[in-house]
């Protein structure tokens, strides 16, 4: 376990980068969302209409703002940190386990930050202006559990996806990584096609599970990415 924790500490070496940035990203989403509504308010007059305020429940900012950063964290971990870990006498298996634990921490901090944001959103009566950032439809309109778990698995999928492609690059080089990427893309399209041809069944699941269906799919993707990176890291080289 000690060896695994060392790799996790390597992942956490710059804590601001892997734990602090999600906070700033969400802060920027709040500021931008408030700014956009302030501009609308300037044009239409304050207070904002119920219709405008409710329309912000479709705000996707929280979901779409962090993935780019999180994917890059995963890629850096699987390439740069991997190289340094091997240089410092770490085995591939322990590196993977320690880094995966680090991903869990980043995801937990990201999800917790969103939950705290939701609390602040309620305390400030939706950021003083009526804008919805965390209290949105896709996360159950204030469902704390759905918000936490939804963002946790999304962050894990992004980190693990970045790590998967970083590890594939280390194991197989550029050309074969692109081929793997294409294969994964084709597999994803095949699954979508399968879902489309079974629309009635998917809609029945959607009715039964609600937003948790999407959460489960993202969780399965994250697990598949983690398993793929574990398989690839055994062949990865510097």
């Amino acid at each position: 376990m000690t060896h695994v924790l060392r790799s996790m500490r390597l992942y956490l070496a710059n804590r601001y980068f892997v734990l602090g940035v999600p906070f700033f990203i969400f802060a920027v989403v709040v500021v931008l969302s408030v700014a956009i509504l302030a501009i609308i308010g300037t044009m239409q007059g304050f207070p904002l209409s119920e219709e405008v305020r409710e329309s912000t429940r479709n705000n996707f900012g929280v979901l779409f703002s962090a993935p780019g950063f999180l994917v890059s964290v995963g890629v850096y971990a699987a390439t740069r940190n991997f190289a340094l870990a091997l240089a410092l006498g770490v085995t591939r298996r322990n590196f993977w386990a320690g880094t995966a634990l680090g991903f869990v921490l980043t995801s937990a901090v990201t999800a917790t930050t969103a939950v705290v944001g939701l609390g602040l959103e309620y305390l400030t009566n939706h950021w003083f202006i009526g804008v919805h950032v965390f209290d949105v439809h896709m996360f159950g309109n204030g469902d704390v559990t759905l918000l936490f778990v939804g963002l946790f698995v999304t962050a894990m999928a992004c980190l693990a996806g970045g790590a998967l492609f970083g590890t594939l690059f280390r194991a197989y080089g550029t050309v074969r990584t692109v081929m793997w990427g294409a294969a994964i893309g084709v597999a994803a399209l095949a699954l979508l096609a399968l879902a489309a041809t079974n629309e009635a069944r998917v809609l029945a699941w959607q009715d039964a599970w609600g937003e948790w269906l999407s959460v489960s799919v993202v969780a399965a993707v994250a697990a598949a990415f983690l398993a793929g990176s574990y398989a690839a890291v055994r062949r990865a080289t510097v």
Partner: protein, 296 residues
């Protein structure tokens, strides 16, 4: 089998290109080994294979007679900071210096602090912003600080000014003196580093051209100059001297040879009016690099 690192039939190919070809070597434990040879002869690849940064096409590497695979206790006996070591772009020098000691129970904090001070490494600077010399200095700090049983130094002086190189040599001796361990250092500054080395391995075109203790290696290279006819005669009579390189100017020739100079051979050269002088280790490595010699 001698304890240390044993390289058994190691071959590494990339496509059609063979970088290392059926290498058999032993790096005895507790010595400083020089890994020498021209660019592209496979020095870094050999160190990568010995530290499992990459995998061999064929053959194996033993640490103290054991394959180490994914054994974390064996892995933490190794430290190999590459000449072009990758660091996370977000890491500052202080991040690396804070995290590295956690990987080695043997970490030498006093040496680290002293080296950071002597190399004037800026702790708050992002590693990717460091100069070439500062990156080398950081690699030296990590390698010597680790006190790993098997420490690899890959051209550790790159970008270092003469003063900093002197600091490195001094600290290497100090650290090694405090805790003797197996250090394998690749270098092109052969004569400058030679006083530190106990054994040398010279690679040429992916094969072992020479492996010998330093004093023996230094005595093996000769430069012989004189009449080309007389020189050829001398070489025919002294087959233990292998011609590595030859320069001809009219009737005279200069050859670099590999082989021990016996008293009889020296006298025969004198009789044939051949001038015999020792070749520096650097000269010998260069000559081996320009020849097809392979160690027996």
């Amino acid at each position: 089998m001698t304890a240390g690192i044993s390289v058994i039939g190691l071959t590494k190919t990339y496509g059609d290109h063979t970088v290392l070809d059926d290498l058999h070597l032993t790096f005895e434990a507790g010595k400083i080994h020089g890994l020498l040879g021209a660019n592209g002869t496979g020095k870094t690849t050999l160190m990568s294979l010995m530290s499992r940064h990459t995998f061999p096409t064929r053959g194996s590497v033993l640490l103290d007679d054991r394959e180490f695979g994914e054994d974390p206790r064996q892995a933490q006996r190794l430290c190999f900071i590459r000449e072009n070591q990758l660091y996370n772009d977000a890491f500052k020098v202080r991040d690396v210096l804070r995290i590295a000691p956690t990987f080695y129970p043997t970490w030498d904090a006093a040496t680290t602090t002293r080296l950071v001070d002597r190399f004037r490494l800026p702790p708050a600077t992002v590693v990717k912003k460091l100069s070439r010399g500062q990156r080398s200095a950081l690699a030296i700090v990590l390698a010597l600080g680790s006190r790993a049983d098997f420490t690899f130094l890959d051209e550790p002086y790159l970008g270092l000014d003469p003063g900093a190189r002197e600091t490195f040599y001094e600290e290497l001796i100090r650290s090694y003196g405090a805790q003797p361990r197996t250090i394998i250092m690749s270098t092109h500054l052969v004569d400058e580093a030679a006083p530190l080395l106990e054994e040398v391995v010279v690679l040429n075109q992916g094969r072992v051209a020479l492996q010998a203790p330093l004093d023996e290696a230094e005595s093996l290279g000769l430069t012989i100059n004189g009449s080309a006819v007389a020189l050829d005669g001398w070489l025919r009579d002294h087959t233990s001297h292998q011609e590595l390189t030859r320069r001809t100017l009219g009737p005279t020739a200069t050859v670099t040879t590999l082989g021990p100079l016996t008293e009889a051979a020296r006298q025969a050269a004198e009789t044939a009016r051949l001038r015999v002088s020792p070749t520096s280790l650097q000269g010998l490595v260069a000559a081996l690099g320009n020849s097809n010699h392979e160690a027996a």
